[in-house]
Symmetry: C2
Subunit: 383 residues, 2 copies
């Protein structure tokens, strides 16, 4: 019996909903990964990813694996045993980044902030300046909390210290205009199932020439799969076989990037901002409040504190069963305390916000609260 998924509106931390065009792209027949008709697609995907990252880096390509695979690729190439690496940690993905560096043998210096709070820039600057720092790592849009990190000042501190600046932009790529060359980001990794609205399974990465120089002089061997020279061998002009590219995933990201280009990044970023703002306006009448202050918040993910006495699991199960809506639970110290609403890519739309607010109201009523759904919808709808 073929599996047929139920219809679920994906408003969690990812995967986000995919458009019909992106869905259909995956249903096309396979082509060989060295086929002359396939290779131009590969070049186009790389060019469009460069534009989204805001970079001219030659090594800008999608790795076969999810966002975490891209993190491993960046860490394996750029961290050598004993390197002092400053990592900003104010959420689960910062913890993960630090953990990956630690496993690679890096000497991790954590600059921590409370989950839901931004990183303290002075603390980052001081930590970077305090030692012979080789790398500085931050998460741009922390998916576990919805805090956005301001990259410019940290990039400047890293550059002043001679450190490489490395960014997890899994959740921001395609939802915020990125200007990594102008800011001075040396390497970054992302995912496809957030604001690009492609399926999970690829991780766009980019390495600056400075980052590549470090990778090429790394005394530790890099796993074959993540070796930048071998990746470049296939994605660059040589077209040397490295591993079999995931053909239909590449069809999907190409179709998703077509949509990004057709919409234009400024309009797409504005759409994300507007959807998040509408959601935030609708919370107070429901008796809910966001975890993160508006000025620190990401536009694609909003963590919302549960109303007092509301059970997280029951609340989310109600949304899924009665309303066909997925939202995310809290992670780490926020488990049970918040739920996370993603308005990402194809999902970042006013109609989804209104449907979600109505459903939240229904779930809160079922949990004995007294939400004012009319006021919530009116507030969200008026901009």
């Amino acid at each position: 019996m073929p599996f047929v998924p139920p219809e679920v509106l994906l408003l969690g931390p990812g995967p986000s909903p995919t458009s019909t065009a992106v869905q259909r792209a995956q249903a096309m027949p396979q082509l060989g990964h060295l086929d002359p008709a396939f290779l131009p697609l590969l070049d186009e995907v790389q060019a469009r990813l460069r534009s989204l990252f805001g970079t001219t880096n030659a090594l800008t390509l999608p790795i076969a694996g999810t966002g975490t695979a891209g993190m491993e690729a960046v860490v394996a190439n750029l961290v050598a045993r004993g390197d002092r690496v400053v990592v900003g940690v104010h959420g689960v993905f910062g913890q993960r980044f630090a953990e990956a560096v630690r496993r690679r043998g890096g000497d991790v210096v954590v600059v921590a902030a409370e989950f839901g709070q931004p990183l303290a820039l002075e603390a980052m600057t001081a930590a970077i300046a305090a030692g012979p720092t080789r790398l500085c790592c931050v998460v741009h849009a922390e998916t576990s909390t919805g805090v956005l990190t301001r990259l410019e000042p940290i990039a400047a501190s890293a550059r002043a210290a001679g450190a490489l600046f490395v960014v997890d932009c899994v959740t921001s790529l395609g939802g915020i205009e990125l200007e990594f060359d102008r800011i001075g980001v040396d390497a970054a990794f992302s995912g496809t199932q957030k604001c690009l609205s492609a399926p999970p399974g690829l991780s766009p990465v980019t390495f600056s020439p400075r980052a590549l120089a470090k990778a090429h002089s790394n005394p530790e061997p890099v796993p074959f799969y993540f070796d930048t020279r071998l990746l470049t061998g296939y994605f660059g002009p040589d077209r040397a076989y490295h591993y079999t590219a995931p053909i239909t995933m590449l069809y999907a990201i190409a179709a998703a990037l077509d949509e990004v280009v057709a919409e234009g990044m400024p309009a797409r970023a504005a759409r994300h901002r507007e959807a998040a703002a509408a959601l935030r306006r609708g919370l107070q009448p429901l008796g809910l409040e966001p975890l993160v202050k508006a000025e620190d918040a990401t536009p694609m993910l909003t963590a919302i504190r549960h109303a007092h006495g509301v059970d997280d699991k029951a609340f989310r199960a109600f949304l899924r069963q009665r309303h066909g809506i997925e939202v995310g639970g809290g992670l780490g110290p926020l488990a049970g305390k918040v739920f996370r609403v993603g308005l990402m890519g194809h999902g970042a739309r006013r109609e989804n916000v209104l449907r979600a607010l109505a459903a939240f109201g229904d779930a809160l009523r079922a949990a004995g609260q007294r939400p004012d759904v009319s006021a919530a919808l009116a507030a969200a709808g008026n901009d």
Copy 2:
């Protein structure tokens, strides 16, 4: 402009052709990777992979990445710095396996045979017995040459020496009946774009309890992405978030496994054997000969020596342009000397063999040869 691939019959070393059902499965909407409707699919995929590997190993699951990612997962978990690792090398994928172990810090002992020849079992046994061997690694179906390795005697030697026996079955899974528990295989990795006829992008892996014990006592940290404990956390009963599973790839492998179950592995293996035998019967009338003797050959990939004076690139380009057929080139020392014909999964069918032989004949005629196409088709068609 949406990309539309040309129609190409994929008879190279992979990706193999996918069925309409597998193609359509990928076009279904995303579900969350923790959605209650998605998790049973994950369990079913694992159960069916266990059946294909011939194992009851609990840790049997598809890693998000291509076959090479599965290799990295196995190597990262099972190799510790300084471990003596015997690797059979008689093709490019044996070389790759050795290289991955070396990069991980293993002390690699290569047992080499000429490309196109089987491994010498006495040499393998002697190398395994010669030292405190921790691991023995071989490629079951060497995709670069089409040589099949007999696993039983090597497994026995490894077991006698107290070494783990690790197998690359990227190209054999789903095309040959595997009995890894009976034989004594401790860990293995595969791909989806060969005899499973799913798209590339997943790597089924399996670890025996003995292998897991080694992984858990490995003094070297394992990359987060490949950590068996974290993989088990998601794929096992805990359903703990590790990384976002590639949803549509999992739809595809589930649909592909449905087809394997419907056909039955014995019939599927017979179909692969019959297709390869038909191809071999058709070669001689064309003036071609296989690289590998029939008794050593894989049933899913046949490397064929180029006729004297035929240019490899021109020959393959002719097949692709005039006949819409992809075949593979030679790798390593066989580059330019052989071409590789994959009859894998959905592609392993008599009609594809006949079409291929007719096209080879046409390409040989264009290269100034005198192939007897009628005799080739008659020989292939008569079994």
